[in-house]
């Protein structure tokens, strides 16, 4: 905005005073009602308040609600700790913020990180290494976590994160619609869709019931979702996209084309909408305009709140040549490198993490598969429906391959997801999309890691 030239008439003193008082009133309202010490701390390079804990996460929507509940429980149980919890926008912006804050020596004490992104944070020297003895003191020994997730989070055998869950890509289905479409068996569970043809047929039958669409998955203004559905099918065929720490692009054209063609046939035949964004897909399924919805399990809360008849199960195993696979990632707790290395702060941080894990039940109600074995292996979890329906996905989870530009919400997912989404939206042919992916991933692969 440009600052312009001089005005011709002046401000009367009264007008200026009036204006200043009004502006001051607004500001005062903000400053006074909004915890003035916090706001005023912007003027001083204030050191941390003793006994405080800062926790950053990227949980919005249904997850956000759950996390708030768990945070409240922690607050009630630990009134002596001043907990500051903040939710930041999901994806690249979150990791940029965490990185910048750590570089600027004012990081949060505890932060959530996707497992796939945590490795890059470690390489950038932004995380504290965790001592097994200290962890054991807080009850966070490796045996208490699912082996797969624990080991996936190790870097050269060293511990940098504490897993909270695995969140796989799953299938939601409207039980009413599926019943009317004749897709439920005697028990009321969905008959297995174990081939592309059966899948398409199921969609078609659901569409006849709803009158609009059979299934819905986000395709535009969204890149992670198209990537997830592609990756789930592609890895069932055994395909890989990048290798060698992201330095090589190893897309199998045949398998990729098969998956892309299948996905595009779903939208072009009209059983699934071609252009729908993340929230739009949720709205459509919630309002019964689609019988099936495909996304990570975390949206369970949204549909429970909408009070619609639904259930969830594993994303179908369509390509039976290989073992079951589905795209997934894990949320973990990490401790960013902090200028204050006191054991009290470390204890507070780990105590908080332990409390969160103790509340795995609440977190699982949000749809996630807990990594905390004391709860995972309990009867309580086994009886949780529909959450326990897809617990097996945690073992079959395919994480995004390692690379400095890879991970949940990363450039890797943006590049691939854009191309895949465009195929589903009818904007690109599979061949063109593959070409685009190869080119863009190739550029990223050739760039030396800046970390």
């Amino acid at each position: 905005m440009t600052v312009p030239n001089v005005p011709r008439a002046g401000v009367s003193r009264r007008g200026l005073l009036r204006g200043l008082t009004a502006a001051a009133g607004l500001g005062a309202a903000g400053v006074l009602s909004g915890c003035s010490t916090e706001v005023a701390s912007g003027l001083t390079r204030s050191r941390e308040v003793a006994g405080s804990l800062d926790y950053w996460n990227l949980f919005g929507g249904g997850d956000g609600v759950r996390m708030q509940q768990m945070i409240e429980t922690y607050r009630q149980q630990n009134p002596q700790v001043k907990l500051g919890a903040v939710t930041l926008a999901w994806g690249n912006p979150y990791y940029t913020k965490v990185s910048l804050a750590t570089v600027g020596d004012k990081p949060p004490d505890v932060a959530i990180s996707h497992l796939t992104r945590m490795k890059n944070l470690v390489e950038a020297d932004l995380l504290e290494e965790l001592d097994p003895a200290v962890l054991a003191r807080h009850g966070l020994a490796p045996e208490r976590f699912t082996q797969r997730t624990w080991e996936a989070g190790l870097v050269d055998g060293r511990i940098y994160c504490i897993p909270l869950d695995t969140h796989p890509f799953v299938m939601f289905y409207n039980t009413d619609v599926c019943k009317k479409a004749g897709l439920l068996d005697g028990d009321g569970t969905l008959t297995p869709l174990d081939s592309p043809e059966k899948f398409t047929d199921a969609m078609r039958r659901a569409k006849e019931v709803t009158g609009t669409y059979g299934g819905v998955v986000a395709t535009i203004s969204e890149t992670s979702t198209p990537w997830r559905i592609f990756q789930s099918l592609y890895s069932q065929l055994g395909g890989q996209v990048i290798a060698d720490q992201g330095k090589e692009v190893v897309i199998d054209d045949g398998k990729a084309t098969e998956v892309l063609t299948f996905l595009s046939s779903l939208t072009s035949s009209g059983v699934m909408p071609a252009t729908v964004d993340y929230q739009g897909a949720i709205a459509m399924f919630a309002e019964g305009q689609a019988g099936f919805y495909f996304q990570g399990e975390w949206e369970i809360s949204t549909f429970q709140t909408a009070k619609m008849p639904f259930s969830m199960t594993l994303f179908p195993h369509l390509y039976r040549e290989g073992p079951y696979a589905c795209q997934a990632d894990s949320h973990t707790f990490v401790l960013p490198r902090h200028p204050d290395n006191s054991p009290e702060r470390l204890d507070r941080s780990l105590g908080f993490v332990a409390s969160m894990l103790d509340q795995s039940k609440t977190w699982s109600e949000g749809g996630h598969v807990p990594s905390w074995r004391p709860f995972l292996e309990s009867n309580e979890y086994r009886q949780m429906r529909p959450q326990s329906n897809y617990a097996a996905a945690a073992e079959a989870a395919v994480y995004d391959a390692e690379g400095w530009y890879s991970g949940s919400g990363s450039n890797f997912e943006i590049v691939t997801g854009s191309a895949i989404g465009a195929v589903m939206a009818g904007q690109l042919t599979p061949a063109a999309a593959l070409g685009q992916m190869r080119t863009n991933l190739g550029d990223l692969a050739r760039t030396p890691s800046p970390i």
Binding site: I220, S221, D277, A422, I451
Partner: protein, 313 residues
């Protein structure tokens, strides 16, 4: 107005000799005092970083590593000039400029013309057109993202009511930039509107009356009198508009993240992506320098244009 925060070093007044006031000269020391606060901040936070940025562009600096990293010579610049993403983001910026500048000039002119002719109720038109201009981009983005939402956004539903099938707006690679352009036009037209309105009020009424007596109709009056007399204003508006469009960042960052498929990534957003998402700040610095060159060329063009106009006058 408080001047307590800054007390420049003052010297006792030079008592003037008797007679006419002498021509002041040689006030170096006092001048330094007055210039010091500005100069200090200017050098520390504008010139200094500019020089540091230039230096950094010759190194492979990383955001998460201290210091400058390995020396790269002109490597970053060479990479940038061969970088397809760099050129496409430059093109996206130019395309954005093309989409926004003509409407922002022409529409503002038309609105100002109408408002000038109508005369009364000017406060209402000022409010309607200018209120968006002072709002922050974050507010604008929230409102327009909602309006562009597929299926339930106001624009889609509104167009459907009159029988037009709306595109996917922000989700369609062809329509994303025009969508951002529409938002931008709505957001910033107020400034040009006010400028033109003031310019119009400066044109003496007698000119119009004389022309009317000579038989000129309204269109002719506009063509022969209004437009030429607003030539200076139009040049100013055009240049400010072009330079502002080149610097566009907020709308892309907030509304499309440069998508879909990077179709709306502007040059500054590319700089941000490289520097802060990919951590490659040496490369980002080189990109910034190239961008600065583009702005320089445009500004130089403006200077030349203004010089020529002033010579004509």
């Amino acid at each position: 107005m408080s001047t307590e925060t800054v007390t420049p070093r003052t010297r006792p007044a030079e008592s003037p000799p008797t007679g006419p006031a002498p021509r002041p000269h040689g006030h170096g020391r006092q001048a330094t005092g007055f210039l010091a606060p500005f100069a200090f901040l200017y050098l520390a936070f504008i010139i200094g970083p500019a020089v540091y940025g230039l230096i950094m562009s010759f190194f492979n600096a990383s955001l998460v590593r201290p210091g400058l990293g390995g020396f790269a010579g002109f490597g970053n610049y060479a990479e940038a000039l061969q970088d397809a993403d760099f050129w496409s983001s430059l093109w996206h910026t130019v395309w954005f400029t093309i989409l926004t500048t003509p409407p922002l000039i022409a529409l503002a002119f038309v609105f100002a013309l109408l408002a000038d002719r109508v005369g009364r109720g000017r406060w209402f038109f000022r409010l309607a057109f200018f209120a968006p201009y002072i709002l922050p981009s974050a507010v604008i983005a929230l409102i327009w993202i909602f309006m562009y939402t597929p299926e339930l956004g106001l624009l889609e539903v509104g167009l459907a009511k009159i029988g037009i099938a709306a595109p996917a707006w922000l989700g369609d690679p062809t329509w994303a930039m025009p969508s951002l352009a529409i938002t931008t036009i709505w957001w910033t037209i107020g400034f040009n509107f006010i400028l033109y309105l003031a310019g119009l009020q400066d044109i003496p009424r007698e000119l119009y009356e004389a022309a009317a007596i000579d038989g000129a109709g309204p269109w002719q009056q506009i063509r022969r009198i209004t437009i030429p007399m607003l030539g200076r204003t139009t040049t100013l508006v055009a240049v400010l508009q072009v330079i502002a469009s080149l610097k566009v960042f907020d709308q892309m960052y907030l509304m499309t993240s440069g998508g879909p498929n990077f179709a709306t990534r502007s040059i500054l957003q590319y700089v941000y992506d490289q520097g802060f998402t990919n951590f490659r700040i040496g490369y980002a610095a080189a990109l910034s320098m190239l961008f600065f060159l583009v702005v320089l060329v445009v500004s130089a063009g403006w200077f030349a244009l203004v010089r020529r106009q002033e010579k004509e006058v």
